[in-house]
Symmetry: C2
Subunit: 190 residues, 2 copies
Amino acid sequence: MARVGLTPERLALAGAELADEVGFDQVTVSALARRFDVKVASLYSHLKNSQDLRTRIALLALEELADRAADALAGRAGKDALIAFADVYRDYAREHPGRYAAAQLRLDPETAAAGAGVRHAQMTRAILRGYDLAEPDQTHAVRLLGSVFHGYVSLETAGGFSHSAPDAQESWTRILDALDALLRNWPPTP
Amino acid sequence: MARVGLTPERLALAGAELADEVGFDQVTVSALARRFDVKVASLYSHLKNSQDLRTRIALLALEELADRAADALAGRAGKDALIAFADVYRDYAREHPGRYAAAQLRLDPETAAAGAGVRHAQMTRAILRGYDLAEPDQTHAVRLLGSVFHGYVSLETAGGFSHSAPDAQESWTRILDALDALLRNWPPTP
DNA sequence: CAGCTTGCCTAAAAGTATTAGGCAGTTGCA
DNA sequence: TGCAACTGCCTAATACTTTTAGGCAAGCTG
């Protein structure tokens, strides 16, 4: 019996690839075993259960996304940073739809806190350093940016903007223009 | 054998209730059969397959959501309309998390077009009548609003804003203030 | 090289999805 | 009203996924 050299990390990575190929909800312990040409039960030495697999894929995706975002943010500020950061999310979702779907998985709070979720929040806040926003408006703005990025990318990958003019890229550009303008001119509390 | 009086509509409704109780991804043909105290195979007279069930629940949710939104929009304009419309989405997601998750299901284009998706887009556009936006900026704004509403509600129901100040309601209010300000003062194309 | 760990295996049980074919309760028509 | 057709729910059967238990041998450890 040749040992294949499975590890939780390799399984998560292969699961992520599988997700990109067939969709995150089609990722199954059985399919993964097939991919390694190994019996299903063997995976249970490395995975607690199928939820564990999904969670690992989600954490992998969040990590990759945070790495890319950190890269994009380095050396940029203001609108440049805003656009670069936003593009990371959008590009990642387009390149890796399965991974992006995985990143949307509801994690229990401790798992999420242990993962890259915190980095994402910190980086979003870092973008706002280029704008003049005091608390609590800064937090409101963080949440707005998170909502727009996630919302737009979700709707676009769901096909919501296809088959209609103007194309999705143009709206994306103009929406980022608008957000930049909004952040530079955040309305006072009424 | 007492006839239970199953119909696709009753199954979709019961499926929606089940989704709200146990989560949309736990909605299964078997669970639904159990709920009606009927054998699983019996449901296949009314449903093509389990995907058909999920699609019907999604369409039901989209319809309910559109009905509520239409109601909220009646007799309102400008910022009032914006807030009322946005609150419909947020409240629906909080009251009916399973249904809201169902509404996010990727539908193939024809199914989506046949359903209430179009109404949603039209209503979002109706809100913008209270603002002075010409095409193509109007479409950009429609997409921005959709993204913010969907994104915020997703992140909030995923627990993204809990356990941190300020509370989610306050951010929501201020984000809607900000969007209103942005729509009243949409930046020109650079 | 002897022994121990452990990675992958077989076996088995439980749940879900789906199809085929049957019977009885209901409907519709004379 | 009576009978025929329909159709709603059933049993039976197959296939796939998840998960647990227990076994054997590969390869590291001394």
